[in-house]
């Protein structure tokens, strides 16, 4: 979302990890500085922040395994009591995932929808953005830099501004059926491109010119260079963009609300979650389990690929 000088400092910093410092005599200095700065109070404050930041998620996790009567109704109590009376159940998860009755959360359908939405969008954005980024980095045409800054600025158009006209365009001009994935795929791809082009351009423009020149001398055309040289060399940047795009689309609610039509055929899991948590009733005890089903995939992606995720942040952009 923003481009400023910081990422440069930042990426320099990640390379120069503590302990892996190239100069021998920097080590003792570092250690002395460390003893000076990490006082008892700082440690205590850090632990408090870490606890405060993790307790909410942990509470949800514990609650999702507690029996319905413990969550709502006269015999309910706080989730921390679970460690005293030790009652856990998988029933909540079974209930949210299976279609049982018309009031059912039926999350498995929506879960599949989320996957069916997010995978094509991620591929579309990666391919189209890297093609554009390649041209912005290595193509020669008039107004290239001005156009690139314009694309960068597009990131800042609030999605809210685009929704009404785009919906009209989809339904009235293109006649896209309301109950299909097509609207969501196209809309998400459109909104993901500016950030994608910006992130990948930063990376692709750093590829040494000699590599590309050598391929040209050997008679390689643009498409060969792009698929055989540029893309394989850009894998780290592609990975971090893929994670961003994945998380962003998976976690989206606004685009889904406007374009999905809200049925179990198309709507993603976030939309269903917002629906069932928005209505108060006898099935309130399912909310924590439902929420956990929806955050488990992003959490897995996040913990599995954290390294790339952080690298993506540091290479200078974030979608808002």
């Amino acid at each position: 979302m923003t481009a400023t000088p910081a990422p440069k400092e930042a990426s320099k910093a990640t390379r120069q990890r503590p302990g892996s410092d190239p100069t021998e005599d920097a080590q003792p200095i570092m250690r002395r500085v460390k003893t000076k700065l990490t006082s008892k109070w700082a440690t205590a404050a850090a632990i408090i922040i870490a606890v405060v930041w993790s307790v909410p998620t942990f509470g949800l996790f514990v609650t999702s395994f507690r029996p319905a009567a413990k969550q709502v109704g006269p015999r309910s109590d706080g989730w921390w009591n679970a460690f005293v009376d030790w009652q856990f159940t998988f029933k909540n998860y079974a209930d949210v995932l299976t279609p049982a009755g018309s009031q059912s959360a039926n999350l498995s359908q929506y879960f599949v929808n989320s996957i069916a939405i997010v995978i094509p969008v991620t591929i579309f954005v990666l391919v189209l953005a890297s093609m554009a980024a390649y041209v912005f980095a290595w193509g020669k045409f008039k107004g290239r830099d001005a156009l690139f800054i314009f694309v960068f600025a597009l990131q800042i158009i609030p999605l809210q501004m685009a929704l009404i006209p785009l919906l009209q365009f989809f339904t009235q001009t293109l006649h896209l059926p309301a109950g299909s994935y097509a609207q969501l795929w196209i809309a998400h791809t459109m909104f993901g491109l500016p950030l994608g082009i910006f992130l990948l351009h930063n990376f692709i423009s750093e590829i040494p010119g000699e590599v590309i020149e050598a391929a040209r001398v050997d008679g390689a055309g643009h498409s060969t260079i792009f698929w055989r040289i540029i893309l394989p060399l850009s894998v780290p940047a592609l990975a971090s963009l893929a994670i961003f795009q994945f998380l962003w689309v998976w976690n989206d609610l606004l685009v889904a609300l406007v374009f999905s039509g809200g049925t179990a055929d198309v709507a993603p899991i976030t939309q269903r979650l917002a629906e069932i948590s928005g209505t108060r009733g006898a099935r309130d005890y399912l909310n924590p389990a439902a929420a956990f089903v929806s955050i488990i995939i992003p959490l897995l992606v996040f913990f599995g690929l954290q390294r790339y995720f952080v690298r993506g942040l540091l290479s200078g952009g974030l979608k808002g």
Binding site: M1, T2, A3, P5, K8, E9, A10, K12, A13, T14, P18, I29, V33, K36, L37, A42, T43, I49, W53, V55, P56, G59, S76, D77, Q109, V112, A116, I123, L128, A129, A132, V135, D145, I149, V151, F152, I156, P158, L159, Q160, A162, I164, W185, I186, M190, L193, P194, G221, H222, L247, N251, L253, L257, V258, T270, A274, I295, P298, V301, L314
Partner: protein
């Protein structure tokens, strides 16, 4: 489970169509006569993204700007929507809340993130400690809304509390509080959720920047007799100024557009609405697309100075290259 097969088929068809289009472009680029080859390449590689962005962002932005000056029936009504926005009490509350959000969220997230980054710098288990605070970034705003509804949960004064905070309030002898219902402080409790999410982002960027500050500088300051606070204030902070600007602007923009948290936690009721949420309500629930568009335009104008600033920085960077 037959629905999976049908959905999968749609995905496969879409991917096949996409592959065919891209393959066609590559074929055209390769077969183009030598004299125009470079031009065809530029056009072919750029066209899909350019068309999508024109249709999906540029054209809608222009349309919305025009829509902002029409009423519910689509007739031009001058500045009526803006007059409504700046005179109606509910609309004014929305604007006030947005200002509170955009001031508090960047400030608090950056402060917590910076403090945490400094405290855990080079500490044992730094990576795990970072993950704990960074984790909320991966959770959807909807999920975060449910997590925090549980934290803020309220029960009557004489029964067991199920929310953590009310549990502590009762334990300390206070009355339980309806955190999301009592205006105006309920806005603050929604803001806390956003701070919870954004602090991890601030922490990661600032932590990397702190590691880039030369150790020699800090050591020199220490030898000059600076205490920990002075070292932080006079060496570390100036050294990470660039990163601080990135973090503040990024979080500010994200905050201006915040929608999901308000939508899932209070749906904008009890005086908690913000511009992004009110825009959705007006355009898609209340049948007032003109008002919705006007709110979106105001949102854009609020973000514009930040864009202009960043575009200028970007242009400077490209000139140096």
């Amino acid at each position: 489970m037959e629905f999976i097969g049908e959905k999968l088929l749609q995905v496969v068809i879409a991917l096949a169509i996409f592959a065919a289009v891209i393959g066609l472009i590559m074929l055209l680029v390769d077969r183009a006569p030598k004299s125009v080859k470079d031009k065809v390449t530029v056009a072919g590689f750029l066209a899909p993204a350019a068309i999508l962005m024109l249709v999906g962002l540029v054209y809608p932005a222009i349309r919305t700007s025009m829509l902002a000056f029409t009423d519910a029936g689509g007739n031009a009504n001058g500045f009526d929507n803006f007059v409504w926005m700046f005179t109606q009490p509910e609309a004014l509350t929305t604007l006030r809340n947005t200002v509170i959000w955009t001031v508090l969220v960047p400030l608090l997230s950056t402060s917590f993130g910076l403090a945490y980054a400094v405290f855990i710098d080079k500490a044992r288990g730094e990576r795990v400690l970072k993950s704990l605070v960074f984790m909320p970034m991966a959770i959807s705003f909807v999920g975060a809304g449910i997590i925090w509804k549980l934290v803020y949960d309220y029960r009557g004064p004489n029964i067991e509390q199920t929310g953590v905070i009310n549990f502590f309030r009762v334990a300390l002898g206070m009355d339980p509080k309806q955190f999301l219902l009592d205006a105006p402080e309920n806005t603050i409790f929604l803001i806390i959720v956003m701070v919870w999410i954004q602090t991890g982002f601030a922490m990661v960027i600032l932590s990397a920047a702190i590691k880039g500050v030369p150790v020699e500088l800090i050591e020199a300051a220490r030898l000059d007799g600076a205490n920990a606070w002075q070292q932080f204030r006079n060496v570390t902070v100036p050294g990470i100024r660039g990163a601080l600007v990135v973090v503040l602007t990024t979080i500010t923009i994200a905050t201006l557009k915040v929608f999901d948290i308000v939508r899932t936690m209070t749906a904008g009721n009890y005086d908690t609405s913000v511009v992004a949420n009110e825009m959705y309500t007006q355009a898609f629930r209340a049948g007032e697309p003109g008002r919705g568009a006007a709110l979106a335009l105001v949102l854009f104008l609020m973000v514009l100075p930040i864009v202009v600033y960043n575009a200028r920085v970007l242009r400077k960077q490209r000139e140096i290259h």
